[in-house]
Amino acid sequence: MKNISRIFLSLIFALTLFQANAQQRFPKPEFETGYVQPSPTTPEPRSTALEYTDVLVLLAALSLASWLVIKKRSRRGILWLSIFSLLYFGFYREGCICSVGSLQNITLALFDPVYKVSITVLLFFLLPLVFALFFGRTFCAAACPLGAIQDLIIIKPVSLPVWVRKTLSFIPYVYLGFAILYAATGTDFIICRYDPFVGFFRMDAPYIMIVIGIALLILGLFFARPYCRVFCPYGVLLSWMSKFSKHHMSITPAECISCKLCENSCPFDAIEIPEDEKIRTPKTLRENLKRFSLFALLIPVWVFIGGYAISSSHVLLSRAHPDVYLSELLIAHPEMKNDTKNIDIKAFRESGKTFDQLVENAAVIRTKFRIGGWYLGGFLGLVIGIMVMNQFLFRKKEIYEPHKGDCFSCGRCMSYCPVEKLK
């Protein structure tokens, strides 16, 4: 029995050798001068140990930032730390891996059965969120290179009307939702693809992204941190955590005396101003409660409308996937199947897959988009519903406090507080 298996094995071995030789059109040369062939060089990638160092640096930056904001209350310290983060995570590490983009890796790992994620990437995703849950968005204040590059160039921030800000604050939810949908279906990492600042860190980017990056920086001179406030999808998660954080920074170190001095100090309009007591008559309160309940009841309608709308546009959305795009192209133009100019079609022909396999695969992906569309649309509907409902939610505000969700914990407001000066 042993012999048979040995013969069998050697047969297989001979067969593979034969096949290997069969690829070789020209035999291996036999040098008479004793020349020895060189072997190709293989420069090593950046070592895994250094990736763990990055995680440690992130941990140190987050700890230091939290300490600087909450205990030390030092805007200057935050400023220097953010410059360090910009240099280290931005220009030295060239923007990859960043916590913002890592959310796509985590999503893909959760949905794709074979995708593996490195622990360092997982930690990059988790650490800022954990810190936000305890200390607020200290990541945004001093550890995020994308935030730092915008924070350093704020010259003359203008304040926008509340309704504009509220409307714009919906965009990050859309971006987050689509980033998760596209990552979960294995289509694309849109956050990385449309990262406006990574081009500066690398001094190299597609032309259009450079234009967008410069435009955002110019806008950022007057509208502080435009990417963070209007686009950043990771900021959504951070604001959820920060909203219920245990020790969020406060403007004043002791008791607020409502002196109004900090009122305009925040370039991000994140300071909540105490409301005039006069508008809170019992009558308006009752009216508001009525509207609040009405809009609360309307939430399922929003969810359904959102889900239906996104799900029914799944054909359009799924076209971003190369397989779906190719199959639709070939169905619409069957004559292109023999096109020798189109690289994608040529590569598909050479891959040996049949047309039916391609169409089948495209159908599977489209189904994923249809189901994912329901979740995404439902989520966005829920967000709209809650946003509208919250318009009629009265929370008694008596002192000047940062909005815990929107506040980047940059610490600018602290130096405006006269109580701070007395200390």
């Binding site: 040369p29 293989t42 990638p45 796509q104 790992a109 959760l110 593996k116 990437v121 190369p322 690289i343």
Partner: protein
């Protein structure tokens, strides 16, 4: 009294939501943690799948591209008439630029002994266009092939060449085995 009550209620709700957020974060961490590896992942081209479309030269975020042609000398026939070096149908096997397939003259032809020539890639000149790879695989042993060079690659979170690769040839490999060099598939690795 009334005020105390409402503050307490608010604190209670906040603590509850904080716990809920903490637990969902832990849930995500566990679920993703089960699919995590201690090792990092890098991008690499599978030469068996590569169809030499030429996009590696244009789609990389680096310019010039981090993809270079490498030479698996072990598979090379050391031919005088090299399909990867000369344009098809050249009259004389001379190293003049008009005879060379490589648009940047990144391949050096070196005489070893009769009738063998060695072809060495100058990576500073190579742009990863795969013209020589196509020539070598069509007319020769296929010893020239593309690889992502990790001293140049930024290891982007999503490789922009992988996104547009028509033949799905770019995949993630563990950083401890960062190259897929032809020949090493066939013969067992030394050591």
């Amino acid at each position: 009294m009334e005020k105390d009550k409402s503050i307490k209620r608010r604190e209670f709700i906040h603590t509850g939501l904080r716990l809920a957020l903490g637990f969902s974060l832990a849930g995500v961490a566990v679920a993703a943690g089960r699919k995590s590896t201690a090792e990092k992942w890098v991008w690499q081209i599978d030469p068996a799948k590569c169809t030499q479309c030429g996009r590696c030269a244009t789609e990389c975020v680096k310019s010039p591209s981090a993809v270079k042609c490498i030479h698996a000398y072990d598979l090379c026939g050391y031919c005088d008439l090299c399909g990867g070096y000369f344009k098809p149908g050249v009259k004389q096997l001379e190293t003049g630029a008009e005879n060379q397939l490589c648009p940047t003259a990144a391949i050096q032809r070196k005489y070893i002994e009769e009738p063998y020539f060695e072809y060495v890639i100058n990576e500073d000149l190579c742009i990863g266009c795969a013209k020589c790879v196509k020539g070598c695989s069509s007319f020769g042993n296929g010893s020239l092939h593309l690889q992502i060079r990790h001293d140049r690659c930024d290891n982007c979170n999503e490789c922009s060449i992988a996104r547009s690769c028509p033949s799905d040839a770019i995949k993630r490999v563990p950083a401890s085995q960062p190259y897929l060099i032809k020949g090493e598939f066939i013969k067992p690795l030394k050591g």
